[in-house]
Symmetry: C2
Subunit: 395 residues, 2 copies
């Protein structure tokens, strides 16, 4: 099988490279994950005066101020080798997927040596993975892989087609089985690509299903911004920069329109179209949506996941989704959901309102599962919550 790469090939690459000026032109290796879990960042910038790196791998520093303790995450300085090659090696890091960026004379840039980038609303970050137990699920392994599709469904409420991302488990195409469905909702500033990109949902589900930790399931990841047909740049609005400032955010209209998503899914995919085979979960705004959807349609969802959820943050009260909330919640819990799951980090800015919501459920005697982690309102937590929640579904 092993054959020598002939001169013609090298010539083709060289000529095309000379013409396109894009290939293999940057010999700098960055980032480099070292065996001890430390990471070396490098940037070739001979004319720079200062180069720094920052990201969610850097330690948070708490300082006392007259206004009270203040948490910051200072950048680390890279060192110039004298020839303009700057580098910095971090402390050994816990296994995780981390984002980072460079600051060159104060200007925030992505790493030109790293092809692995991900967009969060309007900012693009580089990322890397430190191997180990916690990051195991976020990596691609040699296991059967599901299919990830971008598919459009008709929305009578929006008056337009809208796009969703759908994960179907390995074996779906060749088989005839029907599957339960997890509806998985993004947060403010996100779209139908967020869970598959930042959330690494396909990797998490592939790995959990292959190891028998989760049941094979379909995961439907719709766009929760009812005023958007699809992610920025993927609609006839053209290349409009992403923003969190969208009409109809958290005003109930997405929840009102949600049955369209369920009926489309049931009509096009081989689902088990029944309450005991449906879950709805989401992060932040998506947790708010999941709470409202499961409360509004109590006969449709047996599993509910609130990940760092916004609680009582209705944007206006005119939607029917926001009428008689307590009575609807009572009906929902009277039918005893198979799982009502609440997860949040102890540094999350929504911690207190989740605590108050739990107290309300406790007072009413409504049963739920509660998971509290370290950290704040970040993807690192939402990936963990998805993995934990998925393991508990459809058993």
């Amino acid at each position: 099988m092993k054959r020598i790469i002939a001169a013609t090939l090298a010539t083709l690459a060289l000529q095309a490279g000379a013409q396109q000026a894009i290939w293999d032109q940057n010999p700098t290796t960055s980032p480099e994950v070292n065996p001890d879990g430390s990471v070396t960042f490098r940037l070739l910038a001979p004319n720079a005066t200062t180069v720094e790196v920052n990201g969610d791998f850097m330690p948070v520093v708490i300082t006392d101020t007259p206004q009270g303790p203040r948490s910051t995450r200072p950048a680390a300085s890279l060192t110039n080798d004298g020839n303009g090659l700057w580098s910095y090696t971090s402390a050994p890091l816990d296994p995780e997927l981390y984002n980072y960026w460079f600051l060159v004379d104060g200007l925030q840039i992505t790493d030109p040596s790293n092809a692995f980038k991900v967009r969060d609303t309007n900012i693009t970050f580089d990322y890397f993975i430190v191997d180990g137990a916690q990051s195991e699920l976020y990596q691609v392994h040699d296991v059967p892989h599901g299919t990830l599709s971008q598919i459009w469904y008709p929305s009578a409420t929006a008056g337009t087609p809208r796009r969703m991302t759908v994960y179907t488990p390995a074996g779906y195409e060749a088989g005839t089985d029907r599957y339960p469905v997890l509806y998985l909702l993004h947060g403010m500033g996100g779209d139908e690509t967020s869970w598959s990109q930042q959330g690494r949902a396909a990797m998490i589900l592939d790995n959990l299903i292959a190891s028998g930790q989760a049941e094979p399931m379909i995961v439907v990841m719709p766009n929760g911004n009812i005023s958007m047909q699809a992610a920025p740049g993927e609609t006839s609005a053209g290349l409009v920069q992403p923003t969190t400032k969208l009409p109809h955010t958290m005003d109930g209209l997405f929840e009102e329109a949600f049955p369209e998503i369920v009926s489309f899914t049931d009509s096009v995919f081989r689902t088990v179209p029944a309450k005991q085979a449906r879950a709805v979960a989401g992060l932040s705004m998506g947790g708010f949506n999941a709470m409202g959807i499961s409360r509004q349609y109590p006969g449709d969802f047996d599993y509910v996941g609130l990940f760092s959820a916004a609680i009582d943050r209705e944007n206006g009260q005119s939607s029917p989704v926001f009428q008689d909330k307590d009575a609807k919640l009572a009906s929902q819990f009277a039918a005893a959901p198979a799982l009502y799951y609440i997860a949040i980090g102890n540094e999350d800015f929504l911690y207190d309102e989740n605590k108050a919501y739990r107290a309300k459920l406790d007072t009413a005697g409504y049963k739920y599962v509660y998971v509290e982690t370290d950290g704040g309102h970040i993807w690192r937590n939402w990936r963990k919550y998805l993995a934990d929640f998925a393991r508990r579904l459809f058993k």
Copy 2:
């Protein structure tokens, strides 16, 4: 339907933004396409000494040198407004999709204000679109949209599953029709995401099909690097940076394994599994692949597209695909393919070998369609060739 965005929403965004420090923090608008087709680029970089912009929208300059004429594409300088906001407005540009990048004190960076980025092998570029006739097909319009899927197929040749991107036309999921299939192959340095990302294949097909210019068809975009299971970062090899230097490039093994892709496609999708309903086309290395595949399996493909194709650049001669090429070509043309299509730009570095190949076909009396455009070995041409080729298929 119109509801006021309440204070709670703004508060949520603000608090989350303060925590995540990612949202809406960059108020610079860049790029801005002006009504006359000129484009304004802006970068906030108070500490920079020079800021330049370059990209495929900039004019090429030919200079005489002792070694003969030399073509370069000089960068344009941005001007500092005195407060560190640099800007430059281009001349009016022809309608197209263009790539660009900034050079800050000589360091090549992406535009922090632009969410629309695309990867070409190991480099990430920003892009923008100037509206008009030529770019019409590359934009998303309010037409029925097909589905784009990333799906894995078993490869006995590679001994692993491998990933492909598949476009199914609007109406596929809800209907029962069978469709013809275009197999569309990328070039060296590309992967199964290239045609859907850089090539905007889904937009082109959606628009051509909706306007009746192309027949509804399935488009299968496999990974032509037989040593790769999938795009960089999407396999158990982890986050390995993309490179053109891959084993088994153009050594015949991909062509030998191609029937696996066809039989998987026919088994999983509602195809018309017949020669008159199959096309194979590719760019550069993918054109070389398409030539070899259609010659090796003459009973399988009635439509062949060679876009800026590498011609006789076999990497070693041991593959059966490279044996008796002339006799196989004779058999292929004896069966009179419905379309044998060759397209290339007049500045392409592969122009001369395509000219020689055409002369060979002419001498043998083999019929083909030839399209020559301006320009070189670039995506701008390959998008044009795809649109032109797709219009001619399955009529």
